[in-house]
């Protein structure tokens, strides 16, 4: 974890309001676990809080990484205007990321993503695939326009897509695939997306094998301000909880109260 400037290699709008930003810099050497995140200072002095964005993929050889984000408000909109050669002040990599060590070759991993929760799963899929683990992905998007990275994930295994309006894949929630996995029994489930989706995932799958990536509003991003906490399940202490930025963003479903 350090603070450093990274250089924009390229930026592409890969779906409606969804941007893929490729960054280069020595910080990449510190990146490892899938779904760690970067805490990004928005250029200009107007916005003072950094923006947390997950690392979507890492290319250690080229010292490059990719982040994928949706333009939500002012900060991401400003970042989306950057072009090759621009610099970004980055704090990272932060957080713990998805664990994969507990899985062995030939085992099954189910990836579940909703909207902008999909990209953080990409580096995970890549690493799982490289390890010989079978990957099935279930992704939900709002509509066809916002679907992205389907092909990229298809390189690692089957991809099931649902859209809210049925304009692509099945119509409705991605949760409908949970009962139609055709005998694919996951040894681990990895999910990232809106809170409602995470709650559904936690209810459906074995909470000791289910890994959820949380989002909380963050200030410091490094554990000092206690702004981003999440309650521990069965905590006996009167004060204890997890800081999403340090102990998370990924937790086993059995550890936390959603």
């Amino acid at each position: 974890m350090s603070q450093a400037m990274m250089t924009v290699v390229s930026q592409t709008e890969i779906a409606k309001d969804i941007f893929e930003l490729r960054l280069k810099g020595a910080l990449v050497n510190e990146m490892g676990a899938p779904d760690q995140f970067l805490h990004i200072r928005v250029p200009g002095d107007e916005l003072l809080l950094r923006r947390p964005i997950s690392i979507a993929s890492i290319d250690a050889e080229k010292e490059e990484c990719v982040i994928i984000y949706r333009t939500e408000g002012k900060g991401t909109t400003i970042i989306s205007k950057l072009t090759a050669g621009d610099e970004l002040d980055i704090l990272g990599p932060l957080g713990n990321g998805y664990p994969i060590d507990m899985l062995e070759e030939g085992q099954n991993a189910l990836l579940i993503g909703g909207g902008i929760g999909v990209p953080p799963l990409y580096e995970l899929a890549k690493q799982l695939h490289a390890k010989g683990i079978n990957v099935v992905s279930c992704f939900g998007f709002k509509n066809k326009e916002e679907v992205f990275y389907e092909e990229e994930f298809a390189a690692f295994g089957k991809v099931n897509i649902a859209t809210d309006d049925g304009s692509y894949g099945k119509q409705g929630f991605v949760t409908q695939y949970f009962t139609e996995l055709d005998g694919f029994v996951p040894d681990a489930v990895f999910a990232c997306g809106p809170k409602g989706l995470l709650v559904a995932v936690a209810k459906t799958f074995d909470p000791s094998k289910t890994y959820l990536s949380l989002e909380e509003r963050m200030a410091c991003g490094i554990g000092a301000c206690y702004g981003c906490v999440c309650d521990k399940k069965n905590s006996t202490s009167a004060y204890d909880n997890y800081r999403v930025c340090v102990e998370g963003p990924v937790f086993r479903a059995e550890e936390i109260v959603l």
Binding site: M1, S2, Q3, R41, E46, L47, L48, L49, R50, L91, E216, R217, M218, A219, C220, G221, I222, G223, A224, C225, Y226, G227, C228, V229, C230, S237, A238, Y239, D240, N241, V246
Partner: protein, 309 residues
């Protein structure tokens, strides 16, 4: 001579830059970025008698040139703080200013007594922006008599100097400052956050779960400067100034208003290295402005104030 050194009751600081309470935890996290011995002092996270879980989330929201927070004094309680947090900081050559909070006079008395035991705690910062359970939740810091009473309780417990941290959410901050000075405060720290709110246009409800939060950052700097200026003209004890400090110019503006040291809060979130950077950049800016040493600047400002009287 160290141009940046400043001297306050209990605090012989190598420089005036102090991470503000609640914005720096107990130092361990920022200790991964730089050597904490560089700092003038550290104002630790609020410590209460019992452990506290704090408020539900969201606890944070961004605002123009500022932010809201409603952490709710989450901390492991004074026992753990003294046994683990203070000792973990002993490896650094940096004095601690222990931020103490509570809901009763006895809370303050006991926590002040306990934190005074840590050898590296050189002063206490009394957070009086806390609701008084005996007075229907009214903050200790908004009434001069209550502020004086809680100061006395703290002074009884403490064996190190006590700096009372004033709330800006009052009609007349000078009145409160005078009251705590009369009650024996060794110094004043100001300002705490302004009470603010943001509403989510989709849910039509406050973004922060606690509804209101404390506003900090550059947005509040003009209020901080005004209050420091007024209080410096009304009391004879030193002031640790804070509220929106991001640059060396902000640091020096606080001194010119009447501060003798400076707390840095929200800026740590924007730039984790802001404190060592300020320390490094101060001498050059002092050269440009013809300031030999900060202690000299403090004395000159003080003289100016006395001449006004």
């Amino acid at each position: 001579m160290n141009r940046l050194a400043v001297s306050l009751p209990g605090l012989e600081l190598k420089n005036p830059i102090i991470p503000a309470s609640g914005c720096f935890g107990f130092g361990e996290d920022y200790g991964k970025f730089y050597d904490l011995s560089l700092l003038g002092a550290i104002m630790t996270k609020a410590t209460t008698l019992e452990p506290r879980r704090g408020n539900p989330t969201p606890r944070l929201a961004e605002t123009p040139s500022g932010m809201l927070n409603a952490i709710g004094l989450q901390n492991p309680g004074v026992e753990v703080v003294v046994a683990q947090k203070h000792t973990a900081l002993e490896k650094y050559d940096v004095p601690l200013i222990s931020n103490v909070a509570g809901n009763t006079f006895d809370d303050y008395y006991q926590v002040c007594k306990a934190v005074s035991q840590s050898p590296n705690v050189k002063a206490i910062e009394l957070n009086i922006s806390c609701p008084n359970v005996h007075k229907g939740g009214l903050q200790f810091g908004t009434d001069p008599e209550m502020a004086a009473a809680v100061t006395r309780a703290a002074k009884e417990g403490a064996t190190v100097p006590v700096y009372v941290k004033l709330s800006p959410n009052v009609t007349d901050i000078v009145e409160i400052a005078k009251a705590v000075e009369a009650a024996g405060a060794d110094g004043i720290s100001m300002i705490n956050t302004l009470v603010g709110m943001r509403i989510d246009l989709h849910t039509r409800k406050p973004i922060i779960a606690n509804k209101t939060g404390g506003l900090s950052g550059p947005a509040i700097k003009p209020v901080a400067i005004r209050m420091i200026y007024q209080v410096a003209r009304a009391v004879n004890i030193p002031i640790i100034g804070m509220g929106g400090v991001y640059t060396v110019d902000d640091v020096l503006e606080m001194f010119m208003a009447g501060a003798s040291a400076v707390g840095v809060g929200m800026a740590n979130f924007t730039d984790p290295f802001v404190c060592p950077k300020l320390i490094e950049q101060l001498p050059q800016r002092m050269d440009e402005l013809g300031i030999n040493s900060l202690q000299e600047l403090i004395n000159e400002v003080r003289e100016g104030i006395l001449n006004e009287r």
